[in-house]
């Protein structure tokens, strides 16, 4: 009975979303106050209904109701409660329901935190979001209903994919979807502004915190996914340029361009068309990612079980949403004015350069990801594009981007003086070169790659610190008295520096050994000794494990015993690797069991990964920077006199 309630709630949501999409948009166009007023309560009702629906599915998992096909496919009576709950989004159908929960949740948030916006604008934004919800709900209800029943009900379920039985996975999809779906809000603001013909700096100010919020979730989601792959897949790498990883990274790159471009549009009313196009693109690439992952057009370790009907449907959804948006853009963009003019050297021009670099990087990643598909479609053969291409193209593109990070914030709007900028940047430049040249010597092996990476990271970090100190001195006030959005920007840039340090040092100094070990054998990695004591059997709730005992010591002193595991889940013949990691913030000693080689010998992977935590710490800093920025008080200030603001700023020139 409860699954039917969930199913029914989804159907009800569909009708409310349909009514909201129609009434709110027509109402806003024709000025029907009653229809405009319908938008907010409709958004809240949709969220409430999807919460009911999501709760019903969760209940079916908790209560082990295997008569629901999706529950039977993705859980098992011996699956621990924590994973029975996360299994709700462990498969295609449920993860779409999670997507819907987030979609309506963001719309709910817009309905709550939009009191300072004109009602017609809110109605347009919520109307667009309502139409997106309609598209996804049709997808769920027509092709991917998670509430479908099985008759007769099986006695037990198949089990959740063992790869997904992990703490990282509990949070990875929700964070990622919060990001993907969150960009639909910036998208809806852009479409609403195009519909209203009211593309101005107020529009940019309204959408900025929403874009930043989505960006910070996406940052965390990608970082968590990277961390999960690092220790759960047992490969020891943190990024593989896998098509599915790329399809989350592409919206991130465009989203990063968007949050920078929005700053220009808000402050200087420049780049309006470009910013709108970025807002459309960011959400479009999120949809493209959903298509690539769920349609099976590309092969990947992440791919969901695919079904051609779903591929066709989601491609149609993608075409309608993006095609109509770009069509609207082509109609309205020619009438939008140029906005504030700026000199060749100014913060605008530097941010434009940032946007160009990010756009080219996006194009490069997109091309590499879709290249196998293009070649196959043109009948030229089958191939795959791997890390060598991406590293060769992407890393050189990031070097100018990293240099620019320090230059942008010291440039003035409109026109900047090179001399003044040089004065600000002289100290960071000296610090960067010295730190960059000396660090590789201290760490034992000098290479141009490491020196370059550390120089860039030090350049950014030093410019952030001097920037903050100079401003504190100039304003004669403390760190916390500075505007939060300004502090957030610096914190996010510092996050990039930390990330670059992590990537550089782990790539430069990591050691990876894949060796045969007999009980009693030792191996050394990064100054530590690992002694293999043997492997014993252990029993988990729904798996059998072979647990290795590996003693970690340094200079003869035993530090601890690592327990890497190899698990065989009752539901799957694929053994799962659980790596054991000794981490202290500056390095990981990583041990994973390979396969048994007979006579008690095992192949063992021993990795030494210096500074690998800094990669994820950098991402967390970036996300915290985003959080600081959206908590800035100016976003909470009531816009004064909203009635007069709207018509007078209509763009016509």
């Amino acid at each position: 009975m409860i699954p039917e309630i969930g199913h029914f709630s989804l159907i009800a949501t569909l009708f409310i979303a349909l009514a909201q999409g129609g009434l709110a948009l027509i109402g806003a166009a024709q000025g029907h106050a009653a229809w405009i007023a319908f938008a907010r309560p409709a958004a809240r009702a949709q969220f409430l209904l999807v919460v009911v629906s999501f709760a019903s599915l969760t209940w079916a998992f908790i209560a082990k109701d295997f008569s629901v096909a999706y529950v039977a496919e993705n859980s098992n009576s011996r699956l621990p409660l924590m994973y029975r709950i996360s299994a709700v989004w462990g498969g295609h159908e449920g993860s779409l329901l999670l997507w819907m929960l987030m979609q309506t949740g963001w719309a709910y948030a817009v309905s709550r935190f939009s009191r300072q916006l004109p009602d017609a604008m809110v109605a347009r934004v919520l109307g667009v979001l309502g139409l997106v919800t309609v598209g996804f709900l049709l997808f769920v209800l027509l092709t991917s209903n998670p509430f479908e029943r099985l008759t007769p009900a099986p006695i037990d379920g198949l089990d959740l994919n063992p790869l997904l039985q992990d703490v990282g996975l509990i949070f990875h999809p929700p964070l990622l979807y919060m990001g993907y779906v969150g960009f639909s809000v910036a998208f809806a603001f852009a479409i609403a502004a195009l519909l209203a013909g009211q593309l101005d700096s107020t529009w940019a100010r309204w959408s900025r915190p929403w874009a930043t919020a989505a960006w910070l979730f996406l940052t965390l989601g990608i970082a968590l996914g990277s961390w999960w792959a690092y220790y759960e897949l047992g490969w020891g790498g943190w990024w593989f340029w896998d098509p599915v990883e790329n399809s989350s990274f592409i919206p991130w790159l465009v989203g990063t361009a968007l949050i920078h471009s929005l700053a220009v549009t808000e402050k200087r009313a420049s780049f309006k068309n470009w910013t709108v196009l970025l807002a459309i693109s960011t959400f479009s690439f999120s949809l493209l990612g959903a298509f690539l992952v769920r349609s099976g057009v590309l092969t990947s370790v992440h791919a969901f079980a695919t079904d051609p009907r779903r591929g066709v449907f989601i491609l149609m959804l993608f075409s309608v949403v993006v095609g109509s948006s770009l069509f609207l853009f082509a109609l309205r963009a020619p009438k939008v004015g140029m906005g504030g003019r700026f000199a060749a050297i100014s913060r605008e021009s530097l941010l434009l350069l940032n946007n160009v670099v990010l756009a080219v990087a996006t194009g490069a990643v997109l091309l590499g990801t879709l290249y196998p598909l293009f070649i196959d479609a043109l009948g030229l053969g089958k191939l795959s594009v791997g890390p060598p291409y991406f590293n060769a193209v992407f890393i050189p593109l990031m070097i100018p981007a990293l240099i620019l990070i320090a230059v942008g914030p010291v440039a003035n709007w409109k026109t900047a003086k090179l001399g003044a900028m040089a004065k600000h940047l002289r100290l960071p430049a000296v610090v960067a070169v010295v730190v960059g040249l000396v660090t590789p010597f201290l760490l034992g092996r000098w290479s141009i790659f490491i020196a370059l990476g550390i120089t860039l990271a030090a350049w950014i970090a030093a410019s952030v610190l001097t920037g903050i100190l100079q401003r504190m001195r100039a304003t004669r006030s403390g760190l916390l008295a500075q505007p939060r959005s300004w502090l957030g920007m610096h914190m996010a840039h510092l996050g990039i520096a930390v990330f670059v340090v992590g990537v550089t040092l782990v790539t430069g100094y990591e050691t990876e050994q894949d060796i045969r070990m007999m009980p009693g054998d030792s191996v050394s990695a990064g100054g530590y000794d690992l002694t293999f004591l043997g492997v014993r059997n252990a029993q988990g709730p729904n798996y059998m494990a072979e647990v290795g005992d590996i003693e970690l010591s340094r200079n003869g002193q035993v530090l601890r015993t690592l327990h890497p595991e190899k698990r065989t889940y009752t539901s799957s013949p694929m053994p799962m690797t659980e790596a054991a990691i000794d981490a202290n913030g500056l390095r990981h000693v990583y041990a994973a069991l390979g396969e048994p080689l007979g006579d008690g010998a095992w192949s063992v992977r021993v990795y030494y990964k210096p500074f690998v935590d800094w990669i994820w710490a950098g991402c967390i800093l970036m996300a915290l920077g985003g959080l600081l920025a959206i908590s800035d008080r100016r976003y909470r200030l009531k816009r004064r006199n909203r009635r007069t603001a709207a018509p007078s700023q209509r763009t016509s020139s």
Partner: protein, 172 residues
């Protein structure tokens, strides 16, 4: 021409490719051996080297040829699935570039569902079958024609959704 139409045009081209991509199956690498007679061979049997095995002996039944080796990690991954499949269809193992004692020990340890395994010690027969990664699995029909080739470990889904329906159809 309105320059703001370019994004839309680019998008339409992309959608065209994506739509075409839906009709393609990226994981299926075409094999020139499909619908050709399975290359013949006579090889010593793994368990009893004095006896030989030849595909001729399987004429009249649908069978699987599974290329495996004790040094191959992915073979261990697919092994439970292969053993399970062996209950519905005769499976012949082609023990590829392996040492006999290690291969025998591997089967003893992990179970042996093969009706017989043939030793292709130097990998010569594997070349005739176009093997480029172990494991590979061929479906061969009653007349001795190769009907399907699976590259990489066979998982439960492939066995259930692809191999078994095909075997059932060919057995008719």
């Amino acid at each position: 021409m309105n320059r703001f139409l370019w994004p839309l045009l680019g998008f339409l081209v992309l959608v065209g490719f994506l739509a075409f991509g839906l009709t393609l199956k990226p994981s299926e690498v075409p094999s020139p051996f499909i619908d050709k007679p399975a290359p013949g061979f006579t090889l010593p049997q793994l368990a009893a080297p004095e006896k030989t095995f030849s595909p001729e002996e399987m004429k009249g039944q649908v069978w699987l040829l599974n290329i495996w080796a004790s040094w191959c990690y992915a073979c261990l991954q697919e092994h439970p699935v292969i053993t399970d499949l062996a209950r519905s269809v005769p499976i012949v193992g082609l023990n590829y570039k392996d040492k006999r004692d290690e291969a025998v020990a591997w089967l003893e340890r992990f179970g042996n569902g093969y009706i017989v395994s043939a030793s292709d010690t130097d990998g010569r027969i594997g070349i005739n079958y176009g093997v480029y990664g172990v494991p590979e699995t061929f479906v061969i029909d009653k007349a001795g024609f190769i009907r399907y080739k699976h590259i990489g470990p066979v998982d439960e889904k492939t066995a259930r959704d692809t191999l078994l329906p095909l075997i059932r159809e060919l057995s008719r």
